[in-house]
Amino acid sequence: MAVSAASYRNIWVVWLQRYQGLIGLGLLLFLAFVLAPGTFYKPTNLANILNQLAVPGIMAVGMTFVILTGGIDLSVGSLLGLLNCIVATWLVSGTGIAPTILYALFIGTFIGALLGYIVSVTRLQPFIVTLAAMVSLRGLAYVYTNNGTVSGLGSKLDFLVKPIFGIPVSAWIMLVVTAVAAVVLWGTVFGRNVYALGGNEEAARYAGLKLTWIRVGAYAANGLCVALAALVFTARNTNGDPSAGTAYELDAISAVVVGGISLLGGTGGVLGTFVGALFIVCLNVLLILKGVNTYVGMGWKGLIILIAVYLQNIGRR
């Protein structure tokens, strides 16, 4: 099979690499139609899927920026947990909703930017820098809440999960974030620079691009997305939990990879990410609807990620 893949690379592989997310999603939706037509395609399930999509979807859009630069961010789950605790604590202690939201967005963006700066200046691998951040931020979340959960939030953030035109606000936020990210990546100098950095760092350097600021921008955009996701998460779970978001970085990275974006950087787009996130959420929902054990489901997810990464790497090494 490897031989035939190599000889047809130009047409089939390129086509597959570009549309693998859509193909996978199509297959999955077809499977859902065969296995659970009465439940999966019910309107209430559509609302359910959109509700579940918001947090991983927004995080995956942020992750797209980082992965396009050729980096990776393992700290997003921990950052979500920390921001979840901060938002809950602030709201419980009586701070207004608007200042709390602005503060969370600021902290998220700032921590993202800081990580991008550290990666640029120290020239350490993003994997290592963000692994360290993953540990530290998680610890910080526990310290911030004194090892406990923060409850008593009530319905202060309920407006984030209420439906408008039948679609929850959280899902609207995700759609807007995806659209804005698409425009930024395709239509702005910054966006094109992100692709240039990920495509060929040396070439980008010789072309005189300010790599540090591109990286800081990409990681900051990621942090901002995590903060938005944390707000939606808090609205949905109505408390602050220092263990919140554990392993969410894996879902975000999976969505990006399934969406056809190369972990080597420089290729793919945010619409692919959207499809990838939709794929993962639909898979989760279908597995629950069909009563498949959650740990069996984890096995499937791992296998799918492996296949997606394999596809992306054909002909690129």
Partner: protein, 324 residues
């Protein structure tokens, strides 16, 4: 690669249909003319007690499989995941939701289910809301009290007890402690040493006990807040006293493992108190609710039961689903 994806799809289909067996035909068939659906959302299935809890719930549901469809999912201790599971369960229009919440933040989806007309039966853990049909669980204060009475009797009201404690801020720890201390207050001849928080873990209790025994202080009884810690303490005592000698009385709580009952039979532990798993009672209540009956009360307390050398065999026969 097309072949690869095709293969994946085929595998996925096999996996799903296999898992679907337990769910019967609910996935596909049209509504009406179906068996009512009972779903069970478990907080996590990792510790031995919850493994027994799962097995007994499933066994109880199997008994009624001609009348209900049953499906369960484990949230792995993640509240956000449990919210997603409950929301997705609701898509299938269940009649009854059995749920052991990971923490109070699962409340929003539980309330949503209740508002949608689903009978909600909380198992073992409560929420900060009145939007549920019934709560079924054990009474840890009473268990602590009974353990205290057993210890007082064994020591004839005189001696020293080392209490090895569970996770400090957890409700079961507080209850198992306060029930025990209540009885100890009536027995001034017994001195209680409040041991460390050993997190309900065998290994931690063992290390703590090893250090404690270094002090050479004489103790007549070890009361541990669960069996795992009682076992850990006993292992430490055996290691420190290779030639035997008169061991203190070892008392644990939970009685959900085969190993504990075996140790009681072997005389290594003296007694344990059953912390009842609420799953089977939950399924029985679900059957009643489906039949149109109302629960007898909103809070249903399951009784505990002492296991000693004398009752060990009878206990094993009566509880076939103990964790191995």
């Amino acid at each position: 690669m097309k072949f690869g994806i095709g293969l994946l799809a085929a595998l996925l289909m096999v996996g799903c249909s296999k898992g679907g067996d337990t769910a019967g035909t609910t996935g596909g068939a049209a509504p009406g003319g179906e068996k009512p659906l009972v779903v069970f959302s478990q907080a996590n299935s990792q510790d031995p007690w919850r493994k027994v809890f799962d097995a007994e719930t499933k066994a109880a549901a199997d008994k009624h499989k001609d009348h209900i469809d049953f499906d369960m999912q484990d949230a792995g201790g993640d509240a956000a995941k449990q919210n997603n599971i409950v929301d997705t369960f609701l898509v299938r229009n269940p009649k009854v939701l059995l749920i052991s919440p990971t923490e109070t933040s699962v409340q929003s989806s539980i309330e949503k289910a209740f508002d949608a007309g689903v009978h909600v039966i909380l198992l073992d853990r409560a929420i900060d809301s009145e939007k549920f049909t019934a709560l079924i669980g054990g009474d840890n204060v009473d268990i602590g009290r009974q353990a205290g009475e057993y210890v007082a009797k064994r020591l004839n009201g005189k001696g020293t007890v080392l209490m090895i404690q569970g996770i400090a801020q957890a409700t079961p720890t507080k209850d198992r402690r306060s029930g025990f201390m209540e009885v100890m207050a009536k027995n001034p001849g017994i001195k209680v040493i409040e041991g460390d928080d050993c997190g309900y873990q065998r290994q931690k209790a063992r290390s703590y006990m090893e250090t404690f025994l270094q002090k050479g202080e004489k103790i007549d009884c070890v009361y541990a807040h669960n069996d795992e810690m009682a076992i850990g303490a006993r292992l430490a005592w055996d290691a420190a006293n290779p030639s035997g000698g008169t061991a203190p009385v070892f008392v644990g709580i939970d009685a959900c493992q085969q190993e504990v009952v075996d140790l009681i039979k072997a005389g290594k532990l003296d007694a344990t108190f059953k912390y009842p798993t609420p799953g089977a009672a939950g399924v029985e209540l679900a059957m009643k609710l489906i039949g149109g009956e109302k629960p007898d009360s909103k809070k249903i307390v399951l009784p505990t039961e002492i296991v000693t050398k004398d009752t060990a065999d009878a206990y094993l026969t009566a509880n076939p689903n103990l964790a191995k």
